[in-house]
Each structure stands twice: as structure tokens, then as C-alpha cells.
Amino acid sequence: MDTSSAGIQEPFDLIRLSLNERVFVKLRGDRELTGVLHAYDGHMNLIMSAVEETIMVVEPVEGAPHSQGSVNYVKRKMEMLFVRGDGVILVSPPSRT
């Protein structure tokens, strides 16, 4: 099978084509990352640079039902980051517009 062509044969090919591009990563625990992807493996362990992490924190509002807490986003920046694959939900390539 020719995997060197630009065509996508298997799911990981999509990630391979995103190397050295800014990707969006959704993680367990209401965390999201954007950063430049430099390496990955079959476990979806990732190495990324210029990472911005967004953590969603739901703060309960007094008197309001449990499902209507206010949502806060905590942002954090990291220069170079290894992300363990077991926390990864999805990796999305940059939008090509």
C-alpha cells in the first residue's frame, strides 16, 4: 500500500500530515490544547510546542440547579510539552481555509 501519497489510507495518516502544524487536541478532564505538533506514536503520546491549554471549570452558582453553574475557562501556556496518549480524546488538524 502506498502511504507516501497525499491520500489518507488510515486514521494516523491524518495526524502525520499535521506534523509541524498547529493542531487542536481534546483531552479527558475538560481540557483542550492547541499547539504545533512535532511527534506522536501509536499510543497518541504527543510532543507539541507553543502550547495553549484551556481548562473548563464549572463553578456552581448558589441557588441555581446543578446543571446551570457558571463556566470559567482557565488558560495556560507552555513552551514544549509531552502529552501522555491515554488522556487524548481527539486530534484535529488545522482548518485549511
Binding site: 509541524n20 511527534a39 501509536g42 510532543i47 513552551e79
Partner: protein, 102 residues
Amino acid sequence: MLIFSVFKTLTDQTVIVELKNDLLITGVLKSVDQFLNIRLDNIQISDEVRHPHMIAVKNCFIRGSVVRYVQIPADAVDTQLLEDATRRGSRFCYKRCPKFPD
């Protein structure tokens, strides 16, 4: 294998390991194995108020599966080399490490 070899080249660098329980441990990376278990020396906990039981711990072994992130020094990795090694396939090594030959 690729990520393992990257970590081997990072030995003796200062890294920040973030665990899945939100504990942040800064320390010098002493060794790593194929499961990405990590041994850190001279460690420091970033939030000692929240984790007072960790103040006295000076070095530790961290089971790979409890790690969420490892913040690594940006100048310690060659990103071009990383991408090339990733394209070749993850069974390949990132670069030869004289201290830990494959």
C-alpha cells in the same frame, strides 16, 4: 520507542511533570524506561499548600500511567529531527544517546 528515546536524551534536564491528580513536580530527570516511568531527583512541588505531604520528598519514581504532561525545555529537543523520526515510524529512535545506547 520514539518518545522513549526522546526522554532518554532529556536525562539530566530539569522538567516539570504534571500528574493526573493535578500535582506538579519539578525535578531533574534521572532515568526513564519503556513504560515512560520517570525517576526525578531534587524535586520541588509547585503548590505546597495543597500538597503539604510532599514537602519532605526529595526524589521520586513516577509510574508512567499517572502522568498527564511533561513540560520539557524547548531548546533540548530538535523539532525537525522529531518530525522526521515520526514520519519514518514510531519504532525508530529519535537520536543516538551515548549514555543509553539502544
